[in-house]
Symmetry: C2
Subunit: 286 residues, 2 copies
Amino acid sequence: MNFEKYLKDKKIIIDKALDEFLPTEEKSPSNIHKAMRYSVFSGGKRLRPILTLATAELLGEEIETVLNTACGIELIHTFSLIHDDLPCIDNDDFRRGKPSNHKVFGEAMALLAGDALLVSGFEFIVKNAEVKGIKKRAILKVIKEISYYIGTENMLGGQVEDINPENKNITKKDLYNMYMKKTAALICASIRAGAILSGANQRQLKALARYGENIGVAFQIVDDMLDIMQDQREMKKSTYPQKYGINESKIEAERLIKEAKKSLKIFNNKAEVLDNLADYIISREK
Amino acid sequence: MNFEKYLKDKKIIIDKALDEFLPTEEKSPSNIHKAMRYSVFSGGKRLRPILTLATAELLGEEIETVLNTACGIELIHTFSLIHDDLPCIDNDDFRRGKPSNHKVFGEAMALLAGDALLVSGFEFIVKNAEVKGIKKRAILKVIKEISYYIGTENMLGGQVEDINPENKNITKKDLYNMYMKKTAALICASIRAGAILSGANQRQLKALARYGENIGVAFQIVDDMLDIMQDQREMKKSTYPQKYGINESKIEAERLIKEAKKSLKIFNNKAEVLDNLADYIISREK
């Protein structure tokens, strides 16, 4: 398969759906809509929604069946980035090479744009119920799962630990748990959402969740490696590469990707896209 | 009826459900759970969830049918208060006579606790689907409505206008629209949610929405009057009493309450509680 083309094609579909769903910049109050769109369309790779679509395809579903949910998750991801960059959290002036949301629109607007994207994310997922053939029960299960994966036991909990100064003497296990919460949780949720809406059985769901957890943690290790190598972030935080060096981080990320690909074995040779996505995560250079 | 006892009894039921749903303070990461609970249990009147319960009762439903949704809305309301108080928005050091969330837990934790309460709010509403006899379609409709009423067309949009410096020369109509978005929208959503889950027909839904809009705007006018009279807030913002004086504000609030009560006529004499709640809004002194 032409994997680069696959990614590009899916990104186009996702971007179009996001553009159609989000209020236009002209719509009042236009400043918050501008702020929301600024971060949503700032060069994201759309990894999470692509994982949702790829999972649906693997299970024999049309991507239209899960597209709204995939995009809703991308909006929720964008909310988390905007709030993470705020001065009171990471105080990052740049995101994906561009000024971060609060640098352009001010702190108040960035805060509210983040809030609005979180709300829009849920709204987009609920809209998925209008798709023909979708079971309402499945949508409710997806909302429940996503709430769990972004709540205080997972994504937001990881963020709390991330800003917690007690983190200074954390062990490898602590780091792994933090990465699991902070990053792998939403990646896992993207895959599980696609699986639930496509009627996956328990065995499939479990295998896909393990895949998601492993690529999710690997993703964050790679992210932190890239930060160190590109010197883009103050090294005030405990990260895997900061604690164990670039070389050991690379080995650990490769091990996780191998584990992830192992989980896909139950799908025989049908999981080529997810297999490629796992490799993509470790090979990316930005 | 003994209306004071009614309010007290309902508040006890709501507080118990909130306490059982929210993670305990001991649960890790405990600092965010402490921050969430601090604001949820800081003396709120529970007006919004009581409106949801009272609407269900008016339509002949048990309060258990709508209790989770009622509480979910209260969590969403609490999220909005925490974020509104943050330095970058209203910079309020006090809320309900106590130090505001960020004064106790710091800005980062207050931001994340607000985010987590918004997520928990949706989670609580989804949990309502587990109640026997509840239609899944009704829950999805409620989530869709609540997303709309707290989104950029309503609550968050009102907040944007509130911080927008262009607001300095606003007309009476602008003020009314801002109050509608900022405050009446979520009050209206509380009532509509109760109505939808109780199987209200279109005529009932419309009447209840009008009731909600009117008491919601009246609520905000009274709030601003109390702020001026108690001198608790800097008068940097355009409010009804600041622009038209206490006396005219009182007359306008009374007119809105009268309008609200008029909408209840279609329920003949069965809407005693909502009738009392309308009077309560205008007579409250804190």
